[in-house]
Amino acid sequence: MGNRFKAKTTLLPEAKLGDLVLIHAGFAISLVDEEEGKKTWQLISEINEFMDTQNRLSG
């Protein structure tokens, strides 16, 4: 899902492999709470499912 993007962690030295981070202008600027991140992904997948349903109905 999403884009692949090269970002630097200079501004977020505590970031570890596997962390969720917020990226702004090529730099990780904040850690993102994993639970909250999952909620956002859940919302996005709900939208995708909804769109699929719409497409099936109209198609």
Partner: protein, 358 residues
């Protein structure tokens, strides 16, 4: 999700009915502006609740003098201009970066690192990085200035147009005719400066400050929190973006900014000169300061005739009240910066709200 929205909407409606009077909430972040328009949030708000798009879009608040300085440097054969994409179409006295005849020396970059790389790749030219943006973007500039200093990359410099949100919010509230009841505070700026940074505004001006994320549901919940406070007659500082924003913010980013920059008086479109509201390179990094290197003075520029972006940015008028809006000024042929930037209030209004006049 729908129940969260419904619940917040009920509270907003009840609070606005209790209040009875006109309530104006200003968002100070271009990403909020776009999300509000795109999601149609305005259309479900009570009639007496109005959202004002404040000075939250970096390109929009950039003074005309700065834009003319960039264009002046773009005319030089010995320079490469490295800029974030949204500055490309901003019109100056003499065209825009996009319409410049010599386009070969204007490069769009996605990050400050790319700008520094351009300098490394082009040792025969001076790369000028058009460093605009708020507290969110300034740390990225500071990182490359330090890298340039450490690596003695002397053909690199920055034209700092970095701005600080809080002095601008204070300036708005210090105007006699302002109409702002509360602020929806920017999410990503707060990730850097911490939500605690807005405490002074709540204390000194008695205005609720609520930090929210960018999903429509987060924005509605932010507005809900503000309405709850206003109807209770209180003004509090609150963050409902706890997934990303902490009270103290990103200390490493703050430190690197403080190492390279110091606050200086500077010009804003619409707001004029604001004390200690811009970031200037410190003396020890002065050789990377493009203003100094090319002897450019930081004078306020001449506003574009007929353009009312300044009033739009202060929440004094809506875009449609500008005589140029939609006729002489469109996203295809923009006159003012609020129509150029996708984060600008005029561009968002044109794209999402043009047909419906409220």
């Amino acid at each position: 999700m729908l129940d969260r929205i419904n619940k917040a909407q009920d509270i907003i409606n009840a609070a606005c009915e209790t209040l009875g009077r006109q309530i104006n909430i200003m968002e100070v972040c271009g990403t909020h502006t776009v999300s509000i328009f795109r999601s149609g949030i305005r259309s479900i708000l009570p009639d007496n609740l109005k959202l004002l798009s404040g000075p939250g879009c970096p390109v929009c608040v950039t003074d005309q003098g700065y834009i003319d300085a960039v264009l002046q440097l773009a005319d030089r054969n010995d320079c490469i201009i490295a800029t974030y994409g949204d500055m490309i179409r901003v019109p100056g006295k003499d065209g825009s970066l996009e319409t410049k005849q010599v386009k070969a020396n204007i490069k769009i970059v996605l990050s400050s690192e790319d700008a520094l790389q351009l300098a490394k790749d082009n040792p025969g030219k001076t790369v000028v990085f058009v460093a605009v943006g708020f507290e969110t973007t300034a740390p990225a500039t500071a990182v490359v200035v330090k890298e340039a200093a450490a690596g003695a990359i002397d053909n690199f410099c920055i034209l700092s147009g970095h701005k600080l949100v809080i002095p601008a919010m204070r300036a708005l509230l210090s105007e006699k005719n302002h109409n702002i009841n509360a602020f929806l505070c920017p999410g990503h700026v707060s990730a850097i400066i911490g939500y605690g940074a807005f405490a002074g505004i709540v204390e000194d001006f008695g205005r609720p400050c609520v930090v929210a994320g960018f999903e429509p549901v987060q924005i509605i919940e932010g507005l809900c929190e503000i309405c709850r406070q206003l109807s209770a007659g209180t003004a509090e500082l609150k963050s409902i973006y706890s997934a990303v924003v902490t009270e103290k913010g990103n200390i490493a980013a703050q430190q690197i900014v403080n190492e390279c920059f110091e606050p200086a008086d500077g010009y804003w479109r619409g707001l004029g000169k604001i004390e200690k509201s811009t970031l200037k390179l410190k003396e020890m990094y002065g050789r990377f300061d493009a203003f100094r290197r090319f002897g450019i003075s930081e004078e306020p520029g001449e506003e574009i005739k007929g353009c009312r972006c300044g009033e739009v940015l202060c929440g004094l008028i809506e875009p449609t009240e500008c005589g140029l809006f939609g006729r002489d000024c469109t996203p295809q042929e923009p006159v003012g910066p609020c129509m150029v930037s996708s984060e600008g209030a005029c561009a968002a209004w044109f794209k999402y709200s043009r047909k419906k006049r409220r």
